[in-house]
């Protein structure tokens, strides 16, 4: 067990992958000489050289497409997109090409591509760098969508993502990079299941990514008020692990979904629909959700914090499910 930051865990995972397989390379904006926008790839250029740590022009569409071509050509590329907001420029490559090649080629081609991108708000970098659009990708068949929220998942999810024969998108919440946690040795990580991060019995708090620490804090606040909350970390946003979700809902009979995306058309909405489809008769209260306010993410700190899900909002939503 050692203490490590989320950023270091991610860097160690990259280093391990690059060392283990010569087909693996990293490319993206500022990943080389600058060391990564969030300093994840700091030092890797010196260690692995410019062939394998490649700085790209500001052209998400172009370098994501180049990544797809490299994957088709037998490489195992890791494409870093600076934020999910900018990844919209690469949507055509991801949605129309990467996710479809297996289907369009009748199974002849697969695209073993990993795309990493930062997501989320909380660092005062304003509306164009702060949104949570994970649900846009979770909507697409043909790709897997991961949301590591702990140092263990940051360290462990990259290897199985690279081993996957199909495109995998990894969302790294920008507010998590500085968080520290204990990394168990050895760690074990899959990319298919949700996990209960704190067991409880009275209300199931279901969340993912950057909202996990806030939700765990809310669970502690609820415990002080005598409400034993369970915290479920989705980890994998596509495909969703219905079994773990429904087991938790069936146990607690109340659920609050915490999702930094906007409420309308959100992953939270999808989760609520699935719970109603699969566990309706287990419910002892209406479902609730805590999402971001439906505004562009504000720059001013107090307004940004007010727009985001926060522990006190989660506590209030959970308490609203009791008489």
């Amino acid at each position: 067990m050692k203490k490590i930051s989320y950023r270091e865990a991610m860097r160690e995972a990259l280093r391990e992958a690059l060392a283990a397989d010569p087909r693996v390379f990293l490319m993206g904006e500022d990943v080389g000489r600058y060391g990564g926008t969030y300093a994840v790839s700091k030092g890797l250029l010196q260690e692995f050289g410019p062939e394998r740590i490649r700085d790209t022009p500001l052209s998400e569409l172009g370098f994501t497409g180049a990544g797809i071509g490299a994957a088709l050509g037998g490489m195992r590329p890791i494409v870093e997109v600076m934020t999910v907001n900018f990844s919209l420029l690469a949507l055509d490559q991801i949605v129309n090409t990467a996710s479809l090649y297996r289907h369009m080629s009748g199974g002849q081609f697969s695209v073993p591509l990993v795309i990493r991108m930062a997501t989320g708000a909380g660092r005062q970098i304003a509306a164009q760098h702060s949104h949570s659009l994970e649900n846009w990708y979770a909507h697409i068949p043909g790709i897997k969508v991961l949301a590591p929220a702990t140092v263990e998942d940051a360290r462990g999810m990259l290897a199985p993502a690279l081993a996957d024969p199909d495109p995998v998108v990894i969302f790294e919440h920008a507010a998590l990079y500085n968080t520290e946690g204990e990394l168990p040795e050895p760690w074990s990580t899959d990319i298919k299941s949700a996990m209960v991060r704190k067991p409880g019995s009275a209300v199931s708090l279901i969340t993912y990514g950057g909202s996990l620490p806030k939700t765990l804090e809310a669970a502690q606040m609820l415990a002080k008020e005598g409400i034993d909350a369970e915290v479920v970390d989705l980890r994998v946003l596509r495909p969703l692990d219905d079994e773990t979700i429904m087991a938790s809902v069936a146990k607690c009979r109340r659920a609050v979904i915490v999702d930094e995306g906007w409420k309308t058309g959100s992953l939270a909405a999808e989760l609520m629909a699935r719970i109603v489809e699969q566990a309706f008769y287990e419910l002892d209260a209406p479902l609730a959700r805590v999402c971001s306010e439906e505004v562009p993410m504000p720059y001013a700190k107090h307004m940004e914090q007010a727009a985001l899900p926060q522990p006190d909002k989660i506590v209030a939503a959970a308490k609203g499910l009791f008489g």
Partner: protein
């Protein structure tokens, strides 16, 4: 004034437990309508009323155990001749019903039910509704403590009646049934001087006829040999009335119809022998349906009172269990029991030739108080001949 009393739902019953009223005061009832469900030691039986009328008062409360003959409810008859006057009857308002059948003066402001708009549905969680259904709790009577005052799961569990006897009813019922069978069979062997006869009956004609007839029937409506045998017994009994009826109060009372009790073994052990009414007048297809329905309901424990108390004779068939013949014990107050064994292939001499033929052994257990072996023998012979003319069945 009609007194609705707990009927005897079989010779082995001397008390029953009211499970449920199917009517409430003010309800009009029709002859033959099921108005109560009573648990006997054998089954939960739907009890019918044999008068048209209007319910005045329900005396027995659900859960009460009462003796056979106890007045369970009082009703006003609608225009029917008054029941034999009872000295003790307090008869609070005897005149009204007899003269004016149309509008018996009910209690003030008899609820005009249809015109009242239905109340808004009480908020309750899906889990609470499901549990309420399982525990038979009326959600409308539960105070909700969930969000917005909705009824939550815990409210239902609090409101559910505590199980009065924690002991599971199943083994109890089995023991009760064993006791009931023991009582009835002991009484039979103690009181009824049985005589036993048996006759081998060639069945090739009946089997061929049945096979031919079944070819034209859809698979689901095929008639089994059991139904054909029932019909043959019933038709033959028309001419042997001393075998069809009851021995009561030191004399024989012929049955009003041929209501054949069919012995049905229950999965958890024990047996019942409820009646199929007027077997001699029904078609084979009808009998088959009635038989299937009766077996299903007997095993589900939902028989009607008339089925329990009406059999005028019993037929038992243990052929499926593999035995060749069965010499049964008569179910009092009946006076005869006809048994069938397995249909076996035997060497059979007929018209001077020997052939292999399917043969069944039919037996008669007769009550010597009501009939003699001579008549019994003629009955079995007539049954044999009837089964050689299957086209009449």
């Amino acid at each position: 004034m009609i007194e609705f009393k707990l009927p005897s739902l079989g010779a082995d019953m001397d008390q029953g437990k009211l499970l449920e009223w199917k009517v409430k005061p003010g309800d009009a009832v029709k002859r033959g309508q099921v108005i109560a469900v009573v648990d006997t030691s054998k089954a939960a039986v739907e009890v019918e009323i044999w008068h048209d009328g209007v319910v005045d008062e329900l005396i027995t409360k659900p859960g009460e155990t009462i003796g056979v003959g106890t007045v369970m409810a009082k009703l006003s008859g609608a225009g029917e001749p008054a029941v034999p006057p009872k000295a003790a009857a307090p008869a609070p308002k005897p005149a009204a019903a007899a003269t004016k059948p149309a509008a018996p003066a009910r209690k003030p402001a008899a609820v005009p039910a249809p015109s009242i708009p239905p109340p808004l549905r009480k908020p309750a969680s899906p889990a609470a509704r499901k549990r309420a259904h399982e525990l038979d709790v009326d959600i409308d009577k539960v105070t909700g403590t969930g969000p917005h005052g909705a009824v939550a799961l815990a409210d239902i569990e609090k409101a559910a009646p505590k199980p009065t006897t924690p002991a599971p009813p199943a083994p109890d019922r089995q023991a009760e049934m064993r006791k009931a069978i023991a009582a009835a069979m002991s009484r039979s062997k103690r009181e009824i001087p049985h005589y036993y006869l048996s006759e081998a009956i060639p069945m090739h004609r009946a089997l061929e006829h049945l096979a031919r007839a079944n070819e034209a029937r859809p698979v689901t409506e095929r008639v089994l040999m059991g139904a054909l045998q029932l019909k043959a017994v019933a038709l033959t009994l028309r001419h042997y009335r001393e075998l069809n009826g009851f021995w009561r109060d030191g004399g024989f009372q012929p049955g009003a119809g041929v209501h054949v009790g069919v012995a049905i073994s229950l999965r958890q052990g024990g047996l019942v022998a409820p009646a199929i009414h007027d077997v001699d007048e029904r078609s084979l297809e009808e009998l088959m349906r009635a038989l299937a329905d009766l077996v299903k309901r007997a095993r589900a424990g939902s028989l009607r009172s008339s089925e329990m108390s009406d059999p005028t004779v019993t037929v038992t068939n243990l052929g499926e269990q593999g035995v060749e013949s069965v010499l049964g014990v008569i179910y009092p107050p009946q006076v005869a029991l006809v048994g069938f064994g397995r249909i076996v292939e035997r060497a059979w001499a007929e018209d001077g030739a020997l052939r292999a033929a399917p043969v069944v052994t039919a037996t008669l257990s007769g009550d010597h108080r009501a009939s003699d072996g001579h008549r019994g023998a003629r009955f079995l012979a007539a049954l044999r001949e009837q089964l050689q003319r299957p086209e009449e069945l």
